[in-house]
């Protein structure tokens, strides 16, 4: 078991999911506009707030998928 390759997590691909929140928030053309508003809050603001939460959801998902031992 000392060979790193032998211990590769079979669900390593799940780590790529972490790129989603990064792309979604680092591409301002996606969200730099006022409409649609929610309760008077421009899209620019609520979109970025929602991504804080979604990013956390993605991280939890990756955490659960890549856990080596599920008991």
């Amino acid at each position: 078991m000392n060979d790193p390759a032998a211990r590769r997590n079979p669900r390593r691909f799940a780590y790529w999911l972490l790129a989603i929140p990064i792309v979604a928030t680092l591409w301002p053309p996606l969200y730099a506009h006022a409409d649609p508003e929610i309760a008077g809050i421009p899209f620019f603001y609520w979109y970025q707030f929602i991504w804080v939460v979604l990013s956390s959801v993605v991280t939890v998902t990756v955490y659960l998928l890549t856990r080596e031992d599920k008991t």
Partner: protein, 520 residues
């Protein structure tokens, strides 16, 4: 005019955390003369404590003052703090557990320790330690600035030594209990700090939105006022600011966990599961930071006219809230300065002790002596930051901190890439670092200490964060340098880490750990 009720609440909370700070030595009692105990609390913190500690460590008092100040002054661009603190956790989720493992197996307490062994290079370790200390000093100084702002907000506006006395006393108390208890002290104080921050920001947001006539009115007023400013701002990011916004977010996100204090918090976790869970849980603080950023617009909507943008939020609170709430929220900010300041001084002390004192001054120093030196240095670092703030104009600390983010980013190739591969040559990494440091400093100076610069290449122009431009050059130099060094046959040194150092303990031990954790 001094707000006495607010002062009373403020003092009561401050005394409470000071007592807690002193009691921290009795928390999970252990031998505090061991540097792993003093500096990293024995790497024993669980998910709950780490959440408060890391959150309290990176969402600093200055953040809570400066982010709304930027929004108050510049509008939408100031909101980059939100994508910045959104992207950082997925990134840290990937690399921090790996660093924690190698640090645990090899006994590292800093990034510089890792650079030393991984690349067999004293100079690279020195570069990482030097950059870390250099970048941390102004950051500590800014925590003091945050404290000064709220103390002035309470009505203490005395001049000279008398005006500075509250900050000096607060910092002296902090210095003593950090000297004694090490990382346990800020961890203990962090519970109170973060509880206060959550109550203050959520409470204030609800009250302010209803008092100021709803979000629609707040945004409309802010938009109208920003458009009238000498340097007009907008509430929606204009296309010409897209690259600045994105590169500031990305660069700041990459820089954050290169800071010594951020990794100190991570290394105090008791296992990698704690780190991974927290990368999903700490974003709760980012929601707070976003709400807090909107206080900048609320200050505009409330008709606050701040001489310096940093005073916008304190003035807003004094104007809109009863004194007891003002006292509580200002205490939240002041205590919020103590936690990161303590961790930063511990982290800087560790860097100095391990990579400068032990490396160049006294290689044969014993374990207890190592801890003693780190303790004294933690005091010296705080005293230095205090002098920095008291003797130099505030603007100086702000300029310095702006460069600090760009500087610390230059250690990324050694640490982050080095964590995965040794393909980059140690000498090339050093030269790349130097090129990045010089470029970042030069760009900072020519732009008059603004974080972004516009580069013109032929007919094409690109505005972006100076730290990221400097990092790009750093990487190019490092890669080209690697080919040159290898071509000339320059020695690569021995890697003291082995591939298994980066892995979880295999077999039965690891399974038991996982099972125990899933029960709790």
């Amino acid at each position: 005019m001094i707000l006495w009720t607010a002062v009373a609440v403020f003092l009561a909370l401050f005394i409470l955390v000071s007592v807690m700070g002193f009691m921290a030595t009795r928390w999970r009692p252990s031998n505090l003369d061991d540097i792993h105990e003093w500096a990293l609390a024995g790497r024993g913190f669980g998910t709950f404590t780490s959440w408060f500690l890391i959150g309290g460590d990176i969402y600093t008092a200055y953040t809570f003052i400066a982010v709304p100040a930027l929004v108050y002054g510049a509008g939408a661009l100031g909101f980059f703090a939100l994508p910045y603190t959104t992207i950082v956790y997925p990134i840290v989720f990937v690399f921090a557990p790996r660093f924690w493992l190698v640090a645990k197996h090899r006994g590292y307490i800093t990034y510089a320790d890792f650079a030393r062994e991984r690349f067999d290079s004293r100079s690279l370790a020195f570069a990482v330690a030097f950059t870390g200390i250099l970048a941390t000093m102004p950051y500590i100084a800014l925590q003091l600035v945050g404290m000064q702002v709220v103390i002035a907000g309470l009505g203490f506006t005395g001049q000279g030594l008398l005006g500075d006395l509250p900050v000096i006393v607060a910092f002296a108390i902090l210095a003593i209990y950090t000297y004694r208890g090490g990382l346990r002290a800020p961890a203990m104080v962090a519970f109170v700090k973060d509880a206060l921050i959550y109550i203050t920001i959520i409470g204030a947001s609800i009250v302010l939105v209803s008092k100021l006539g709803g979000f629609a009115h707040i945004f409309q007023t802010a938009s109208a006022v920003l458009a009238q400013r000498p340097k007009p701002g907008t509430i929606i990011l204009p296309p010409q600011s897209f690259t600045a916004y994105a590169t500031l977010s990305l660069g700041s996100g990459l820089a954050l966990f290169m800071y010594p204090h951020a990794i100190t918090g991570v290394l105090s976790a008791k296992n990698t599961t704690v780190i991974k869970r927290n990368m999903a849980l700490i974003p709760a603080y980012s929601v707070l930071l976003g709400l807090n950023a909107l206080f900048g617009f609320m200050a505009i909507a409330a008709g606050v006219h701040a001489a310096s943008p940093n005073a916008a939020v304190p003035l807003l609170f004094v104007k809109m809230f009863p004194q007891w709430f003002v006292g509580m929220s200002f205490a939240a900010i002041a205590i919020g300065a103590l936690v990161p300041a303590a961790i930063m001084s511990i982290a800087a002390a560790n860097l100095f002790t391990r990579s400068i004192y032990k490396e160049y001054i006294k290689p044969a120093c014993s374990g207890p002596e190592e801890t003693r030196v780190a303790r004294y240095v933690s005091l010296a670092v705080k005293a230095g930051a205090l002098l920095f703030v008291l003797l130099l104009p505030t603007q100086f600390a702000i300029y310095f901190q702006l460069l600090a983010g760009a500087w610390i980013l230059q250690t990324l190739p050694t640490i982050l890439i080095g964590l995965y591969t040794r393909r980059l040559h140690r000498r090339a990494l050093f030269v790349g670092w130097l090129a990045g440091m010089i470029t970042a400093t030069w760009m900072g100076i020519v732009t008059g200490y603004t974080p972004t610069i516009t580069l013109h290449l032929g007919g094409f122009s690109l505005a972006g964060y100076i730290g990221l431009f400097a990092l790009t050059l750093n990487l190019i130099v490092t890669i080209v340098g690697t080919f040159i060094c290898d071509g000339l046959g320059v020695g690569r040194g021995q890697d003291a880490t082995s591939p298994t150092d980066y892995l979880d303990d295999t077999g039965v031990a690891s399974r038991t750990v996982v099972r125990k954790l899933s029960v709790t």
